[in-house]
Symmetry: C2
Subunit: 224 residues, 2 copies
C-alpha cells in the first residue's frame, strides 16, 4: 500500500510542483491549505483548482487568522514592496512563524492519518530571505515533531520533504513542466488586482524571471 | 522596561497558575487562547475571566479548528473516557500536535510583539501521558524557533517557560493559591454538563486529587 503524505498547498507555483513530486514518488496526497488572513485570497481559489488537478484524496482548507497578530505586509495594511531588488534581507512580507504554524497543522493531520511524511514547497535559493525556508529550520522541525507526537514517542521518524529546497525558480518550473503541472492554475502575486498579477512584487519578479530562464512560456496574466 | 511574554491561556487551572507565575516574575502578559474545536467550549469563557483577573495587556482568542482533522475524543464524537486509572498510556483525549500548534501560534505573536518568552502550563508529572508535555519536546521547540524566526536568525534565543513542568497538581494549587489565583474562575472538565464538571474524566480526577492533597478547598461545582 502506498504511503500517505500531507502536502501544504498554497495555490502558488512552488507548492503545486512539490505536490506533483510527492505524487511522482508514489505518495497518496492529502492537501492542506491554510487561509491565514493573507491579502491575496486569490491564492485559496488557486489551491482548490490545483488540488483538483492533482487528484488529491482529501483537501482541507483551514482558517487561522494570523492577521490578528499583525506584523506582516501580507496580512495587514502595510504596502507590499514593489520593484525591490531581491536581497538576503528579511522583507516586510515575512509572516512571523508562518511555516512553523503551517507545518504544525500538517503534523497534526498527518498524525491522525497515520502518515509520517509532510511536503512543503519551500526554497532556500530564491527564498526572499525568509528564515523559515532554511534547511536547518526543517531539520529542527523534524526533531521537534519526533519529541512532540504520539507517533514520535512510539519511535516513528518524521520526514519534512522540501524537494525544491536547492532548486532555482527556473529548475522548479522545468521539473514541474516535465511532470505535467499546469502553471496557469497557480497564483503567486502578493498584491493582485482581480484576476491580474501585479508583476512587480517580489513573488511576481521571481516568477517572471523563472519562466524566462526556464525557457517556458509564462501563462500568468499581468497588469498592463 | 519589563519584558513582554505571550502566555497560553486555556481557562484551566494550570495555564492560569503558569500565567500568575509569569506575572510574579515581572513579565508583561499577552494572553493567547486558541479555540480549537474542543467540546468543552466552557473553557473559553473561563479563559476570558482568567485574562481579566490577571489584568493582561491584551487577550487574543484565535479559532483554529483542529476538529477538521479528527483523531481525538476532545474534538470529535468519540466518548471521553471516565473513571480511567491514570497511567502512562497516551489516552484518546490526546489532540494530535496540539501543543506544537499552540506554541507555534504563540511564537508568531511573540515575534510581532518583540517578545522572546512564551509561557505554557504543561506538566510532565500529572500529564496524562501526552508526548507534547515532556521537557525534551519544549527544548526541541526552542531550537526549532531559533532556526525558524527572524528574531532567531538575528541571534535572539527563544525561551519556552513551563514553570509547572515538575510540579504535582497539589504543588501547582498551593503555588497558585499563594499568588492569589482564584481557581473558581477556572474550568478543567473534558465533558461538562452546563456549569457543572463531570467529576469523572481524567482532568476532573486529577483536579480533585490535587485540591485534596494540597489541603485547599475545591471551588469546582461537580455533577451530583
Amino acid at each position: 500500500m502506498e504511503s500517505k503524505a500531507v502536502v501544504l498547498l498554497s495555490g502558488g507555483l512552488d507548492s503545486y510542483t512539490a505536490a506533483a513530486i510527492a505524487r511522482e514518488e508514489g505518495f497518496r496526497l492529502f492537501a492542506l491549505t491554510v487561509r491565514y488572513g493573507q491579502r491575496h485570497a486569490r491564492e485559496v481559489e488557486a489551491a482548490r483548482a490545483v488540488a483538483r488537478a492533482l487528484g488529491v484524496e482529501r483537501h482541507i482548507e483551514l482558517d487561522v487568522d494570523l492577521s490578528a497578530f499583525g506584523g506582516s505586509s501580507l496580512t495587514s495594511d502595510v504596502p507590499v514592496p514593489k520593484d525591490r531588488a531581491i536581497s538576503s534581507e528579511i522583507p516586510s512580507t515575512y509572516v512571523p512563524a508562518r511555516n512553523t504554524v503551517f507545518l504544525s497543522l500538517a503534523l497534526g493531520w498527518a498524525e491522525v492519518l497515520g502518515a509520517s511524511d509532510i511536503f512543503i514547497g519551500v526554497n532556500a535559493l530564491d527564498y526572499s530571505g525568509y528564515p523559515d525556508c532554511r534547511p536547518e529550520f526543517l531539520t529542527a522541525f523534524e526533531e521537534m515533531a519526533n519529541k512532540g507526537t504520539r507517533a514520535g514517542a512510539l519511535g516513528e521518524s518524521w520526514k519534512v520533504h522540501a524537494p525544491l529546497i536547492a532548486m532555482s525558480k527556473a529548475e522548479i518550473i522545468r521539473a514541474g513542466t516535465a511532470l505535467g503541472v499546469d502553471y496557469s492554475l497557480t497564483h503567486s502575486c502578493y498584491d493582485p488586482h482581480g484576476e491580474l498579477a501585479c508583476g512587480r512584487c517580489d513573488s511576481c519578479l521571481l516568477r517572471k524571471k523563472g519562466f524566462t530562464e526556464a525557457g517556458v512560456a509564462d501563462p500568468t496574466r499581468y497588469q498592463p
